[in-house]
Every structure is written in structure tokens, then in C-alpha cells.
Symmetry: D2
Subunit: 379 residues, 4 copies
């Protein structure tokens, strides 16, 4: 018999669904060394959270996260609430001795993030931030190829995360599914929401960033605010682009926007090394493009690797060659890795500490944009 | 309270997993009007089926499908056993008044298929064949675009299903996961296994086929047989290609092989109409290519439609725009549609009768190849 | 000083321009061992041929091809006239001891073709049919890769040539630029016009075809005829598809149509071998796709080879890596190869004899379609 | 009779060939209102320039550009010499009353560029800088679509020009074909060589740039110098990336490098507007990608426009739909446009004055990189 681990989830939006699905699915496809129990789901809106719990099979609900954290029968707290709630919930959960899984970004800022890292480390509880794209098999393969040294010295890194959902001036800000447009809830705009993904992957694949030069823009200056009912200034950045120098000497460009017509979630990265290069694209997440200059020149070209064979990361747990998986599987892999890490004592990445580094880069980026100057990434 | 429906599954291979996953997932993402219970899983190998049942949460097991069919507490029989077992199980299940869901192809041949259709229709039980690719959202969208008349008169249809997994002469035939290479279990080679998918989609999208001219080939004539331990002649065709004339006057080419290096499950189709054309590819199943000649000529080109927005078929039940789903979702959609059809009385397609038409085409194809002559598709 | 060779061209249409451009360009980029002189251009329409000659720098004109062939100062006759004129001009030119270059297809039928081959061989004159796609660098590279044995045993060949320019029922047939729709001038429809290209390439890359099963269709039965002014039955086939068995044991499908919306000149082929596969596409003619199963499985994928580097066939004569050439360059390569062959005594391919084999396949294809039966390719 | 215009060319390298080919080809495919005469080619190396002149049909040679400029029988001077020679030759040619066509970039710096602009404007001579990519039909189409207002308000512009030819540390610098790596001859590295192309296109398509923040890098610090025979510091930048704010409010990223494995001449740009977006890629220069959000959402997607139809810019002068042109055609279009402009008095773009704006951006970029600060683009 596997030991039961009781999960308490805060939030029931897009990420609440994705995480819950992952808890249900992971044990069916992977060797998860615990019996994961959907113990309680928590949100202030009682009807909504009850419906969510009923659908997904949570045993019960809570309407106050403090009550959830206080329960003795909860082993792990999973935070899917808006960014401005991460800090308090995570610290309380850590103090209560619970494992903490938290949606990205880690926090509203570095100061909060430091306190959160301190809390989980002091408590000695397993912890992870859901930077899920690390566990798209193609991205995991990219990491593997780099670690094997196939690319050689890295010269260039470039990443974008392009969306188009806020181009309409009629879109309001704030509340419910639009909290990402409300600075009070989100902390920042595309930087914390989208670039944080790009930065997390980049740090994982290419090491630390030394300094950045950024620019941001708010294209539509005022929007109706759902919480106040009034037209208010938009305070989150619609777009952000920055130059970066990695500590390994490579140069980088990063860009994110919600004003790029034609792109819904076009997260792409490319890495150019001395010997080989890699490209990936979230819109075709089951492919990795790879170019190896050491190939016989007559047949040298970008290879489109269809990541479905059993020797690809995670893929021996899924279907048969040729058959692709989708977005939600990255979370399932996260659940499998996290709990295998809990059992083995070898923590799954990115931990809160790992994610703090991304937070530092975000903060340097925003400061650079405010000051129109190059900024070092704080230590 | 939703009414409980108890599922009894025969088989635990690739399709056993895909179907079971679909029963578990469908109610979480779709409005399934019943409470689907994984009641019993059945296979001759007791240890194997017990492990399967434990993993997936089946309440119990059976080791004889006749026992499963005989149980009063089973409402629906799902057949994931090799092709040579479809006929007997399906007929017994129908006679026992149970709904029948059966993996494709319908049967070993048309004669068997006719008996199966008779059985389910006489019994009046809901029935469906799992031609799952109809419910890949991009394919469903293709159907919708055609039904809206966007293509106009159809001139051409072409489809291939290319694999490469049997190129090695060392691969044995027969038994366990290799029953598809054993004529006694599979009935035919690529025709029933792969072309049947292409034909099913084609009949759905483009109507009936009138006649065919086919060729088949066995590239490697003998293989070790796992059941006998001896080198035996290979009796299933490795490759099959055929010309077809649809009754709507359009011309078609179809081809399938397991000897196409570079392709794992490359099911593609293209339809050329008077005004517009459509392309789809299983290796990038979340995209549909569409060309409309009525576009302003300066910006006329093939459109790559990323099928992730909420107005795409089935996609309002999944994630957010830009985030793709994968292979297994087609089965989840099948479960949702089937049981909504049971509740509404409007049967989900393809029924056994629908699938019999595909069987007729397959039989004409094989006869054509044997006789080196054009063959009409029997009525 | 290079020896002068005087060119006499018959025809001034699309191919007249492409050939003339090639005569002018080849010596600037390749080592052509003769001084090619645009001596005379010939067509019945005096004003038109004079304008053509003036533009391109022909020294003079003729309005009767017999007069051109009779001239002592012409060394090579290049036939760009409609198919029904190839036979007479080529034989007359050969008898007059002139080199003969002739647009494809060789002839209206095999009988004519045999006489043409006899004529040039009896006369011992250098001869070539302009199957220009052999000399697209990507296609030449495909030949090289196959000849090096990289693909191993070939299992499959498939080719299509798709156009859409005759879908409108208002398009007339016959005369001037529409002679390809007039059976009297063209001999056949897509078979001789488009499939002939596919067959020529296939024979070159994959050897002889043994037998075929074909179907053809005329979608629009009657069209206004430009020569008679009357609505007349269309006698050329709009579409043709056929199955083929190559003598090396591989299976093939071929298809061509002028009713494929979205495709202007989509000539594609794919070859699947035991170890590797190749794809090519005229719409992106400067790329070759290559898949090699012997690659390390982690980085195995279809390679998109951008054919611009100096080690690619013909490309050391053009620009710099990354910069593509276009359609007309295939003719320039043909001129370079033909005259280098004249100088070296090693004839450039395809000779009339080579092209006769394509003619035999075309004839078997048309006969198969007429008789609804498999047809051997005549010897 | 068309009036003769005598061309005098300085330089015989890659660009010397491309321009000369354009002078020869343009009148065959376009209505060029003059009789262009290849009068003289000029370079210091007498044997080399004589061989070049013989191959291409120049009537004579010069070994001193001053002598060429001094000749009364030269109407237009075309400068294909290294960047550090543009200034003196262009000013001398202008003073001599000759038309001046000059390879890009305009000059070594803005100061030189201003003098050159003054010279041609004071002399009132037709002048053009060969930013040839404006005349790739797909790029010209992009301009047309933008000018028609199809994109609406522009939010984003991004461009890269990626090469990989200097990754080897064994590659020397300076002299002959490697002058681009020698600061004394080139002025700058990728900025003037490659980014200048990106900037020229961007200014044409999207208007003026207000300010930039750039970084540059020299990855390999020392190389053997061909002119001195010694290992010397590399003074040109290997890579350069910059952020930019356009005066229309849009944000941009630009990047160029010669250290991007897998890319030979990957010049790409993307423009995101309120309603529509555009992408282009030099590696497939005959395609333009276009996304229009106003499309019916069911069939909305990126369109791959194959730029070969007769209604596309310049394409009615080439072949037939489906058949692509290549790199050198952009120069042919330049010749056609330039001399049509001479005849009509409506100057072809970009003039020296137009190109001065690109020079100003380059200078601001280099200064920004040197000072690690945002820099305005000087007026």
C-alpha cells in the first residue's frame, strides 16, 4: 500500500484545473510513490468551489485558505491563486509543515520571494514552482542535449512569448479571469506572466544572466476596471523586450507582448552553439528543431524531431510513436517528478530557490525599463 | 444524481489504456449525462488484467469475455481485443442487451460485419466503432467546413497512412503486441489497420466510394512467428495503395505502408474542391491547413489554422487559446459523444452500420489487389 | 577562342523564353566550351517572332521551321513548339545533321518517339529532351544520395503534380497559350504535360517501371475552342492517377491534375528506402527534405536541407550560402551540361532514347485508363 | 531607338557579379527605357578585372577608379568596392555629373554619408543605394499591404539577420573576400553589413526610429590578418542586438550575428499590427506569411502566400504561377526601377538621402553599444 498524501488546492481557475488533472492522471501513467488524495479545494466563492470540487472529485471544500492550511489532514498545499496571494499562503503553509507547490511566478517581487524561500527552507518542506514548460518533453530533451555538450560553447539565446488577447480596447481589467491585467493582483504584466516562463527555461538551459536592458510599453492606457466599475489607468506593461548578457558570455534577446496578432501562446526559444543549434515552439510543442553542423554537409539541415518515440523524455509512459501529447501533460510530468522527488529526497526543480533567480531577473528587467538603463541581476 | 452506467472492457493493450483513460477523463471536461463506472476489465492473462484493473481503478476483473458479457451489472461492453474476436463478443454482448463499443475495424470481413450489424440493430443497443480520428478537432472542423459548402464540388481526395515499424527483418510476427502482423488475428495488414482509418474519414467527409483498383505487397516474405516459434510466411500485406472513384465524381488515391522511413503514424488527407482545399496531418493533429481561392489574390495562401481556440470543435472544453491537445483526446470526445447520444437517442457515429461501409471498401480493395482488377464496392 | 555554335529556336512562348535565357546565362556562370550564338528564332507569326528576336538578341528570324532547318549556319535546333510538331522538326533537324534539343514530352506517342530516336541516333547528333527538373540542384542531389546508396533498398515512390488553372468552366481550349488543352496539339492532357515530368524524374532516380494501373477524368466535358469558335468536347484528360510497380520491387503512386485548388505547380516526390527517405517540392525547389534512420535516435528527424552552399550540385556557380536560385536556373544547368557533353562526347541526359522510356510509361498509363486494366510498360 | 547609357562598374566581387547580371537581364524582362551598355569595369588587379570584363562582356577596363570617373563616355558609376571607398568615388562621380549607384551601406559613418548626400543632390544626379531586399517581390508586397492599411496600428517589429560563417577561429580577417572582417575597410561588422539591411527595410515599412539600446560582442578576439600576416585584434563586432522605439509608437528588436549555427543568410522580419501581421524570411524569399484577424475565426490562420502569380509585384515579368525566382532577381528589379526612375524623373528608392537615415540608426546603435545607454537617432 502506498502512503496517502492529501492535497489541498487553492484556486479553481485555469491552473486549478490543470493541476488537478495532473494529480488524477500522473498515477495512471507514471510510478507515483504515493496515493494522492484530492482532499480539499479552496476559494472564497463557495458555490464555485463546490462545483469545482464536485466535478473533480475533491472530498471537501474550504472558503478560507487559512482554514485549509490549518487542517491537520492536508499534506501538501498547491497555490493556484493570483500572484498577490502566493506569499502569505506559501509562508503559512511552510510554517504549518506542509509541502508547497505554487504557480509561477514565485512572488510579486524579490523581497516577497526571499521570505518565501526562507520559509520553505527553514521548514524543510518539499517545494516547487510550476514552471511547467521545463517538462514538455521537447524542452526536457533540449536540456539533455545541452548537458551532453552537443551544442558546445553557446553564443546566442533568443526567446519570445507572444499573445494577442488584449488588443481590443474594450477588454476590461481586473477581477476573475482578468486579474492578470490588474497590477494589484498580478504585480506586473507580461514580465511576470509570460517572460517569467522564458527566463525560467533560459536559466535552466543556459545558466545565469548577468545584466539586462529592457523597455516596456502600455499600448492602451486606460481600461474599465471590473472591481471598481471605473475607467482606470492600466498599470501593467502590455509588452516588454530586453537584451541580456548571460554569465557564460552568450547574448540574448527576450520579448513578450499581448499585442502580437496571429499568436495565442507563441513561446519560442532558439539557442545557437558552436556546433549545434536548437529551436522550440509552444504552438507545436511536440517537435524540437535541431541543427548539427557536424553532419555530412550534403545532408545537413534543420531536423524536425517529432517527440513521440519511447526514448524521448517521459514518452515511454504515453502512447505509441507518432502520437503526440498536449499542453496538460507538462503538469502531469511535474506531479510525477515532484512526488518521486519527495520519496527519493532529490528535490524536483524548480524549487522556490530556483524560481527566486527568475524573480531577480524580472525585477532587474522592470527596473531597467523604468530607468532606461542597463541593470545587473541582483544576487 | 446521474444514472450509473457500468463499463466492461475486453483487452488491456494500447487501446485498452486509451479507452479507459477516456472514460475517466470525459466526465471531467464534458457534460456526460451518466456516471460512468469502470466495473470490470477482462483478459485471459489474470495477472496482467489484475494489474491493469488496479492501475486504472476497475472494480473487478474477468478472465473470460463470456463471463463478462453474462454479468447483469454490466451496461456496456467495450471491445479492445484483436480483430478476430470482435464478431463473437459483439454479437454476444448485443444479444445480452448491452451497449457495444468496438475498436476498429468492425470485423475480419464483410460477412462477419453484416452479422454484427444485424445483431446490434436487432437488439436495439447503442453501438459505435472507435474510428477516433473523426474526433480530432481539426478533422471535425474539416467536416464542418465541407458541410457548410465551403469547398464546393469536390474533385480530389488523397490520403496516406505511413509507418515504418516493420522494416527490420528481425521483427517477429504474432502474439501479444504483434498480433497485427498475424493474419489469423488481424485479418489483413495495413488495409484493416491503417487504411480503414483513412477510408472511414473519407466516407464521412466525401461520401461513398464506387470502385477501386488496388495493389498490395509483402516486402519481407517470412518472419519468425511468436506463437509457433517457427519461421512462417507473412500473410498480411505490408503495403497497400489504391485508386478510387467516389460516387460524387471525385478521384482518390489511398496508400498505406509500414515501410516508409521517417513516418511513425503519418496519416494525412487532402481534399481539393472547386473553391477551397483542406489538408490534415496526424503528426501535427492540432492544425488544419485551408486554402480558399475566393480570398483576395494578394493575400491568398494556405492557412495553417491552429485548432486551439474556444470556437473550434470540442476546444471550449479544454485549455486556453494556443495550447494544444493530443492524441488521446479524440477518444475522450468519443466517450462524450457516445453517451450524449445514448441519452438523447441521436446515435453517435460511426455506428456498426457506418463502419460496415468501410469494411466493404476494405474488402473490395483486397479483392482488387488479388485479382489485379477494378472492383466495385459491394452494396 | 571558343568555337561558335549557332542556335536556331522554334517557338517563342514560355519555353522559348526559358531556353533563350539559358543560352544567354549559362556562359556567364558556367564553363560552356562554345560561343553560343542566338542565330535565328522561328515562328509563323512574323511580328511576334521579330519582337521576340529583338528582345532577346537573335540575329534573325524565320517564319517556316523548314527554312530554319535548311540553313547551313545553324548548328543546333531547339524545339519549343507544341507537341504535335516535335516529330517532324526533330527528324528533319537530325537529317540535316544538326544537334536537337526538344521540349518535353518527346512526342505525341511512342510510335513517333521511336522514329525520333532512330533519326537522331542514325544521324549521330547530340540530342536532349528538356526535362529540366533533373537539374534543380535539390533533385540532382537526390540522385546523388540515391546513387551513393544512402537510402538502401527502395520500398516506395510517390509523386504528384498539382495545378488549378483549368477549374473555371469559362476557360476556352486550343490555340496560342492554350494549346495544352487541345488534344490535336498536345496529344494528352496532364499525362504528357505534367506526369511526364514526374515519370522522367522517377525513372532517373528509381529505375524502370514494370506495370501500371491508371484512371483519368475529364471534369468539364465541353469548352469553347479558340480555333473553331465553337463549344467542343474536351478530349484531353484533366486528371490522371496511377499505381505503378517498379522493376526494383518498389510500389508507387503518381497523380496529376489541373483541378487542385491551392496548387499552381506543386510537383512533389517522396522516396522511402530501407535506411533513409527523401522529399522534394517544386514550390520550395531550393530545399530537399531528408530523413536518415541511422541518426542517433534522440536527434533523428526530417532534415530540411537548404540547397545553397557551394558543395551542392551546380551551386558553386551561383551566389553565396543562404541565397536561393529559382526555376529558370534548371534550364541554365541544362545548357551547361548539354554543351559540355557535346564537347566531351559524354551525352547529357535525358537523351531522346531516355525520354522514350517516359513516353512508353505515359502510353501504358493512358491505355490502362482507357481499358480499366493493369498494363505492362512496353519494351 | 533607345538612348544608350554607359555603365562603369567599380569592383568585381559578389556584388560586381550581381549588379552586372542585373544590367544584362533587366532589359530582357522589363521595359528599361535605355540601352544599357557595359562600358567599363574597374579594379586595381588588372588580370582579374580583365577576366571579369571578358566574361561579362564589358567593352573595356580601368585599373584606377579616378580614370573611370574621368571618362566622358561613362554615364553611370556603380560602386561595388569596399565600404571605405564609397565616399570618395561617389563624390567624384557626382561632381563629374554621373549617375551614382552604390552598394550598401552608404558610407563608413554619418559624416561621410552627409557629404555624399550633399554631393549627389548638389550635382542633381540620379542616385541609389543597393538595398536590394526591398525588391524581393514578397517584401514589396509587404510594403503594399502596409500602405493599404491592412495591418492597422503597428505594435511590434522584429528582425534578425543570422549567419554562421565566422565561427571558426581559423578564419583570417582582411583582404579580398574577407574585407568585411577588417574594420578599416568595413567600418563596422554585422551592423553595417547585415543590420543595415534590416534597418533599411524597417524604415521603409514602418517609418522612423526614435531611439535605440544596443549591445555588441566580439566572440573571437584575435584573428590572423591577411594584409599584415600577423594575428591582430578583431575590431568589428561579431554580433549586435538592439531594442528600438519607432516614432509611430511601436517597439522593435533587431539582432544580427555571424555566430548562429544553422543559418546562412536568415534575414527575417515580422510586423504585428492591430488587425494583421506579416512575416518574411530570406531563406524562402518567395513566400510571405500573413495573418488577418478579421478572417472568419473558423478558418483563421497564418497564410503562406507563394509569391509567383502575375498579380504579385514584378512577377508578371517572370515565369508562370508556381515557379519561383531567386536572390539575384532583386537586383534586376532594382535596375529596372532605377532607370525607369531616371526616365520619368521620379527617383527610385532608396536614394542616398534615404540611406543616410539607415546610417544614422547604425551610428546610434554602435554608440549605444559603446556607452551602454539608450541613444536617440540623430537628425
Amino acid at each position: 500500500m502506498r502512503k496517502k498524501l492529501n492535497i489541498g488546492l487553492v484556486g479553481y481557475g485555469f491552473m486549478g484545473r490543470a493541476h488537478t488533472n495532473a494529480y488524477r492522471q500522473a498515477p495512471k501513467f507514471f510510478d507515483v510513490p504515493y496515493d494522492l488524495v484530492l482532499k480539499a479545494a479552496c476559494a472564497r466563492n463557495q458555490d464555485a468551489i463546490q462545483a469545482f470540487a464536485d466535478n473533480w472529485g475533491y472530498e471537501g471544500i474550504e472558503t478560507d485558505w487559512r482554514a485549509l492550511v490549518a487542517r491537520d489532514d492536508i499534506d501538501a498545499i498547491d497555490i493556484c491563486a493570483p500572484n498577490n496571494m502566493h506569499h502569505d499562503i506559501a509562508i503559512a503553509a511552510a510554517k504549518a509543515g506542509k509541502m508547497v507547490l505554487c504557480e509561477k511566478p514565485l512572488a510579486m517581487n524579490v523581497a516577497e520571494g526571499c521570505e518565501m524561500v526562507d520559509a520553505v527552507e527553514k521548514a524543510g518542506v518539499p517545494n516547487m514552482i510550476w514552471y511547467n514548460y521545463r517538462r514538455v518533453p521537447a524542452v526536457t530533451l533540449a536540456k539533455q542535449l545541452i548537458d551532453e555538450g552537443r551544442l558546445g560553447r553557446i553564443f546566442h539565446y533568443r526567446a519570445v512569448f507572444l499573445q494577442d488577447w488584449t488588443i481590443s480596447a474594450d477588454l476590461p481589467q481586473g477581477g476573475a479571469s482578468l486579474w492578470r491585467l490588474d497590477a494589484a493582483a498580478a504585480g506586473s504584466g507580461v514580465t511576470g506572466d509570460l517572460l517569467a516562463h522564458c527566463i525560467d527555461t533560459a536559466l535552466w538551459l543556459n545558466g545565469s544572466i548577468g545584466s539586462v536592458s529592457a523597455m516596456t510599453e502600455i499600448f492602451i492606457k486606460e481600461r474599465q476596471h471590473n472591481l471598481t466599475g471605473k475607467v482606470e489607468p492600466v498599470k501593467i506593461e502590455d509588452a516588454c523586450a530586453f537584451l541580456a548578457r548571460f554569465k557564460n558570455g552568450s547574448l540574448a534577446t527576450f520579448e513578450s507582448t499581448r499585442y502580437a496578432r496571429g499568436h495565442k501562446a507563441l513561446y519560442t526559444f532558439e539557442i545557437n552553439g558552436e556546433h549545434a543549434s536548437i529551436q522550440w515552439d509552444l504552438h507545436d510543442l511536440h517537435r524540437l528543431n535541431y541543427f548539427d553542423h557536424r553532419d555530412d554537409s550534403l545532408v545537413r539541415g534543420w531536423r524536425s524531431i517529432h517527440i513521440t518515440d519511447g526514448d524521448m523524455p517521459y514518452m515511454d509512459h504515453w502512447w505509441v510513436p507518432g502520437l503526440q501529447i498536449g499542453f496538460e501533460h507538462s503538469f502531469i510530468h511535474g506531479v510525477a517528478d515532484f512526488f518521486q522527488g519527495v520519496a527519493s529526497g532529490k528535490p524536483a526543480h524548480p524549487t522556490f530557490r530556483d524560481a527566486l533567480e527568475t524573480q531577480r531577473v524580472c525585477e532587474a528587467v522592470l527596473k531597467s525599463a523604468q530607468t532606461n538603463s542597463w541593470q545587473p541581476v541582483g544576487a
